[in-house]
């Protein structure tokens, strides 16, 4: 059955796409203020409902989809680069690196005039978060490589070290900062897609399109990379360039997500793994399916986050971690069994 689905690439893509549309539709209705589906379809909304829909629900839904897609696809690409399914931006410290840079720039932005702060918030923040994630990603890459192979224990240990260092530094900056812009520690450690506005979307969208085009282009390259570094070189891939580009593109995805939604863990780990289990490891499936799968997962998590304790909201990262944590343990056990 799976083999048959595999042959018709279009069908599963179509199924996921329709699922995404349905879930997005549900996401537009539910929350502290429920909008009737009939009214939503016919467009007969009250002014308040229209306001909630256009200014809150719609950007939030689109934003959650984009962030989910970016996290999942960058997870898939990083796993391809490190040749290991255990890699996730959160686990190996890339997210905390980005978080630290973001918190730092907000803390220091209070030194500037208010107008400049606004500009810094939208433009410099993602840029700094991106530099933080690129820095950690490069460091991790060099730490974990031994004789052209990824040493998984080095990777996880370096990840623990980076996570510890950057979480502590982030906590320190937040502790000494009284700026409202930093809001709460929860935002940076657990994530929140509630704050996504049209302005932020305007910034996220080009990054999303750009990185998506790049990841789509390198699907086959990622397949070849999983053979090993020298094999990839023999097949004509310039490793230095490809590795650098994958790191930059993934770091852009993670950086932008962190800058606007805080750190949302495990999406990049869980989604590509589920896709691989169903469709096999070929990246021409993994990349497009991860985009849709990530969007679906984060949107579902967001729907849960705002309905479970209504009218209040749970941080979205709690939902993804509740799913992702046990899943990561399961992967570790599976990895251990394979090693034996």
């Amino acid at each position: 059955m799976i083999a048959l689905i595999n042959r018709i690439v279009g069908l599963p893509l179509l199924i996921l796409l329709s699922a995404l549309v349905v879930i997005a539709f549900i996401s537009l209705q539910v929350g502290a203020m429920h909008i009737q589906p009939g009214r939503l379809l016919t467009g007969q909304l009250s002014d308040l409902e229209r306001g909630v829909l256009l200014n809150i629900r719609l950007p939030r839904t689109i934003g959650a989809m984009i962030v989910g897609a970016m996290l999942a696809v960058s997870g898939a690409a990083l796993q391809g680069l490190f040749r290991n399914p255990l890699v996730d931006a959160g686990i190996i410290g890339i997210t905390t690196g980005a978080t630290f840079s973001a918190v730092l720039v907000i803390a220091f932005s209070t030194l500037f005039p208010v107008v400049l702060q606004k500009i810094l918030g939208y433009y410099l923040l993602p840029f700094f978060a991106f530099s933080g994630s690129v820095g950690v990603c490069y460091a991790i890459y060099h730490f974990s490589k031994r004789f052209g192979k990824t040493d998984i224990s080095m990777l996880i240990l370096a990840g623990i070290a980076f996570n510890a260092i950057f979480s502590a530094l982030t906590g320190l900056v937040i502790y000494f900062s009284d700026d409202a812009a930093i809001r709460t520690f929860t935002f940076w450690s657990m994530g929140d897609v509630g704050g996504i506005s049209w302005e932020k979307l305007l910034f996220m969208l080009p990054v999303f399109v750009l990185t998506l085009r790049y990841f789509h282009r390198i699907q086959h390259t990622l397949d070849v990379l999983s053979l090993g570094e020298s094999e990839a070189g023999h097949l004509g891939i310039s490793l230095k360039l490809t590795n650098r580009n994958i790191i930059i593109a993934s770091a852009m995805c993670v950086g932008v997500s962190v800058a606007f939604c805080g750190s949302i863990g495990f999406v990049g780990l869980v989604v590509p793994h589920i896709i691989r289990t169903i469709f096999g490891p070929a990246h021409r499936f993994v990349i497009p399916m991860s985009v849709l799968g990530g969007a679906i997962l984060l949107l579902l998590a967001d729907i849960f986050a705002r309905t479970i304790v209504m009218p209040s909201e749970l941080p979205i990262g709690i939902i993804t971690s509740v799913i992702g944590g046990p899943f990561f343990m399961y992967l570790l056990f599976k990895h251990k069994r394979r090693m034996q």
Binding site: R83, H220, D223, L227, H234, G236, R276, P281
Partner: protein
Amino acid sequence: MIELNNVSLAKKGTPILQNVSLRVRSGRFTVIAGRNGAGKSSLLNILSGEEKAFSGEVTLNGRPIQTYSLSTLAKMRAVLPQSNQPGFAFTVEQVVELGAFPFAVSGDIKRAIISDILDKLDIARMRKREITTLSGGERQKVHFARVWLQAKLSPHPCPTVFLDEPANNLDITCQHEIFSLLQQECVQNRLSVVAIVHDINLAARYADDIIFLKSGRLLRCSAADQCLKEDILEEALGHPVTVLHHPCSSCPLIIPQSNRESTLKRMISIKIDAEGIFEPELTFVSEDSKIYRQGRFWQKGTF
């Protein structure tokens, strides 16, 4: 044709190769042999264009090899490194298909060639299996199939295949299957093969040319029949050997000996010189003083 002129290579101050000058001819089956640590893999990496940190001059078809881009090289030569497990559970077919990565070929042509290769290597039945579930030997065959696909699709008039110990993990049948396929391709399709081979009899059976390396220096690079001599082999492999005529084919048969056998053989040679009865290379004396002639027990006794 690949030409090395006074090539040296050092890693972290340790010399790996020193002043190697040789020529690898197109359309020939060239074997690189020598002891562990003699610099065989490094030489293969230099020849295949992977290792660039050497001094001296390496030219591929008259042009310095460093001036070729990786993608151009990928269209001219394929490389089989020592076995490596892929990061994900790709199927056999998917792994083989990666050999077509450097080329823009239509799916139908690709599939037809892949089927042909899988049939020839007798792995068609496992095409849907995950590579992680295969044995070492089966995996080696799959990677060989990938490399072969790359060489097959090459638009170059005489593509080269570089193989680092291709016989690893393979049983005798598979070894001969793969080596005779390669030899056939050399003759029919002007494929050049450069392979590191430890089994000297396998090399003797299939190689046109042999490169012997010793401690990073070139010991000999010539046609196989000229260098498969006892003295050269003993120096290259660091072990006494006896070279016999193969009973079924024209290639030499090389038998490694223990040091004791080697002394006994010398004793026999001396005796024979005096009496002129036995052909020396066909007579052995085992440790319990049994005398063997032409591989069979002859009589007990000593010389």
